[in-house]
Assembly symmetry: C2
Homo-oligomer: 179 residues x 2
């Protein structure tokens, strides 16, 4: 993402990143988001503010970087044994996570990121893992799943007065499964 | 929207609103967005900064209010004589507008608004006007049109590296028209 090329993963650079990310996560748990500053993060992470400015440019990019790192799922999407079941499990969890306060903050931060496309590439990876399990069922394309499941979920949260109902999400899954 | 109840439309309050909105629109044409401040807006609008703070709370709410006012369409959606044609015309214009720099800024501002649901209610009004023209064709519900047309358009702009292609938009319209 924002890590510059040529830095060895696992080296000093990776340790700085982990320490700064941890500091941000801890501070966001105990402080109002708008009160968190680069000097506070630097102090907690044991680095200088200029280290942070040099690497991330400004606070919004750093927050976006942390948000994107959080998005990277810890595990494979749940395997329920059927394409419909896997999509329902994935979509319901996505709706839950994005509707939560951390999910909303993450979406806001990611929009400030220099690489918002990274967000869709993470989703694509998860959905690809699901459709790859059912090659003989002519599964929908990942693009179609993003347009029909992820997009309405996020759009309703950001711009509507109420999130999607689970029933609506299930209807969208049926539509996506129609050939 | 942010106008408090009890203020007479057309009175002093409406004149203040129009003058402040104009000042914001003019300043945004000639200044970097991040350099526009409440005192600058107040000076140009001929009001005191405290008038602005009292009415809008802070700059992000004022920017959102201006963005929402801009969204209110000047005219009915184009009437091409067919439901498919009207939806294509509407969706292509929506994609164009939201992909533009002012459209992107507007989406960002609207998310800071106290009433982001207003955004969907404007879209709903436009799409309802279209479907109401074709009552005997069993048109899709407005909710479905928002989920299948507006949501992917906006989601791709905000979170993907490239906006929807017009061909993809047309495929989504066909999907929305399927019963």
């Amino acid at each position: 993402m924002v890590i510059k090329e040529g830095l060895r993963p696992g080296g000093r650079s990776a340790r700085v990143q982990e320490s700064v990310h941890s500091a941000v996560r801890e501070l966001l748990e105990t402080h109002e988001r708008t009160s968190v500053t680069v000097p506070m993060i630097a102090a907690r992470a044991g680095v200088t503010p200029s280290t942070i400015y040099r690497r991330w440019g400004d606070l919004s990019v750093l927050l976006a970087d942390v948000a994107l790192a959080r998005m990277r799922p810890d595990s494979e999407p749940a395997n329920t044994g059927s394409l419909r079941g896997d999509l329902q499990a994935w979509a319901e969890q996505y709706l839950d996570e994005m509707s939560s306060a951390p999910g909303r903050n993450m979406m806001r931060d990611v929009q400030c990121s220099v690489t918002p496309g990274y967000c869709v590439s993470i989703l694509s990876g998860q959905l690809q893992a699901i459709v790859d399990r059912y090659p003989d069922q002519a599964p929908p394309s990942v693009d179609r799943l993003i347009n029909l499941l992820a997009a309405p979920t996020v759009f309703r949260i950001l711009f509507s007065s109420a999130p999607l109902e689970v029933e609506q999400l299930h209807e969208l899954i049926e539509l996506a499964l129609k050939s």
